[in-house]
């Protein structure tokens, strides 16, 4: 099993989710995060004081999938999350040794 982690632009989440659904991915977990990267941040002004805000809001998406599906999932996310503008984010893949569905105790492919 593989864990696919993708950091994407927040307003792209719905599109990515729909694309993954269409690609047959049944489950995923997402969280709100802040990213630091080439995109750079922005300045905010409070009573004349300017703050450099380095972090931009991002969404992180995690999905555990069968080895066989990993490439498809990566491609699907890459395609649906892209705007072509800086800050689109990253996808990375790590190996998962074991996965279990809490409700049933099923493991492996049956669990995702």
């Amino acid at each position: 099993m593989k864990l696919i982690t993708a950091v994407i632009k927040p307003f792209k989440l719905d599109e990515v989710k729909d694309a993954l659904k269409a690609a047959g991915i049944a489950g995923m977990t997402v969280g709100e995060v802040r990213g630091f990267g080439r995109q750079g941040g922005h300045t905010e002004t409070y009573r004349g004081a300017e703050y450099q805000i380095d972090f931009v809001p991002k969404v992180v998406l995690e999905a555990v999938v069968d080895d066989s599906q990993a490439d498809l999932v990566v491609d699907t996310i890459a395609k649906s999350a892209a705007t072509g503008k800086i800050g689109d984010g990253k996808i990375w893949v790590t190996d998962v040794e074991r996965i279990i569905r809490i409700r049933t105790g099923e493991e492996g492919t049956d669990a995702v």
């Binding site: 307003f11 719905d14 922005h42 300045t43 905010e44 002004t45 409070y46």
Partner: protein, 397 residues
């Protein structure tokens, strides 16, 4: 002026002023979190710019002289007001002038360029609001002369702002993602808070319009409250029937619908009339939402369904429910033996405001859009108004 009347008029002015921040939160709770400051700012900014304009020229254009179409410059720069119409009246009317353009911001949520908005409401206040206020409330104004009634601004405020909102939306178009992306309210408690403040302030708005602490004021206050209550119930009932749920946002929306509809009627009707007016408003404004869906119009926070439709409804229903037994300075509507006379006047008044404000508002919006620009660019909209227009974030962890 009697000290009791002065006390009530000053209190009412304060209450009406408080409605603008209330409106800011009512709307602000409904936008997405990246646009909350943009929304709050547009509303409170009206408290700044419109007040100064009102002092310089707006009040004088509305309440100076007795021509049928517009006032004059007699009271410009706050000149002679204290010895003329009085500072309390000036103050009270100023708060109306402030909130009226602010009502528009609900329709145009999440996409107005701040500088363009500032220019728009400044011009609109002088060219549209002051004349219409003159028509309706000045003794010489043609609507007043004709005999149409507008106790606290059904035509002058709600129809006026409602049709202006429609005009501006026609110019700027829909929010990016409208109809495809969900855009649920980001903080409904803020909307409830805004509703509470609006309801509270509306007592000043309507009962203050008696311009005295007397029986008409008390009647107007009761009517205001009962219409808000019945508006809430009307909306919730039909919402429950249609969707299976009675929602908090529905309760707030219905109350505001009832408040809007009772505004022109507040000092002219009595007994169960406010409940019937409010109930009707709650139901009709809810149904008007569907219309919007069909028009594919992005009246983002339903200014048209609530203020335009509600204002029209109240203005017309007054032609049915007005009762001189309640207020001898009013008239009798159809149900109280007055025949169709008042109803006709009300319809003419509504139509006059609709046409004048609709056309002129559209023209001003186009002019501002062509020069300063009235809508933010696509990237700014995506980032949100808070950051793109004001370089601020509303919330920090």
């Amino acid at each position: 002026m009697d000290s009791g009347d002065t006390a009530w008029l000053l209190t009412s002015a304060a209450l009406v002023l408080f409605m603008t921040p209330g409106l800011a939160f009512f709307y602000g709770g409904m936008v997405r979190s990246k646009n909350i400051l943009g929304m709050l700012m547009q509303n409170i900014f009206a408290m700044g710019i419109i007040s100064v304009i009102w002092a310089v020229i707006g009040f004088s254009l509305a309440f100076g002289g007795d021509g049928p179409l517009i006032g004059n410059f007699d009271y410009a720069f706050v000149y002679d007001i204290a010895t003329g119409p009085g500072m309390a009246f000036f103050a009270f009317q100023m708060m109306f002038a402030v909130i009226t353009p602010a009502l528009i911001t609900g329709a145009t949520a999440d996409r107005l360029k701040f500088s363009g908005y500032a220019a728009f409401i400044a011009i609109w206040s002088v060219l549209v609001y002051s004349p219409v206020a003159h028509w309706v409330w000045d003794q010489g104004g043609w609507i007043f002369e004709m005999g149409a009634l507008d106790f606290a601004g059904g035509a002058a405020i709600h129809i006026n702002a409602g049709i202006a909102a429609l005009a501006v939306v026609a110019v700027i178009g829909s929010r990016r993602g409208h109809g495809s992306e969900p855009m649920p309210p980001h903080n409904l408690p803020f909307t409830v808070l805004g509703t509470g403040i609006l309801w509270f302030g509306w007592f000043g708005f309507n009962a203050g319009s008696a311009l005295a602490a007397n029986g008409v004021a008390a009647q107007a206050l009761v009517n205001t409250h009962l219409a808000a209550a019945a508006g809430m119930l009307g909306w919730l009932i039909i919402e429950k029937l249609k969707t299976g749920h009675a929602t908090t946002l529905g309760a707030c929306s219905g109350a505001v619908a009832g408040l809007v509809a009772i505004t022109p009627c507040a000092g002219f009707v009595g007994e169960m009339s406010p409940i019937l007016i409010g109930l009707t408003a709650g139901i009709v404004c809810y149904l008007a939402l569907q219309l919007k869906e069909r028009l594919r119009l992005d009246d983002s926070l339903d200014v048209i369904a609530v203020h335009l439709v509600g204002g029209l409804l109240g203005t017309v229903l007054l032609g049915l429910f007005a009762d001189t037994a309640i207020n001898a300075d009013g008239a009798d509507g159809l149900f109280y033996g007055g025949g169709l006379e008042l109803l006709k006047d009300q319809a003419v008044a509504a139509a006059g405001v609709l046409i004048f404000s609709g056309l002129l508002s559209y023209g001003i919006a186009v002019a501002v859009d062509k020069t300063i620009g009235l809508r933010v660019d696509s990237d700014s909209e995506l980032i949100g108004l808070d950051q793109s227009q004001h370089a601020e974030s509303a919330y920090q962890a």
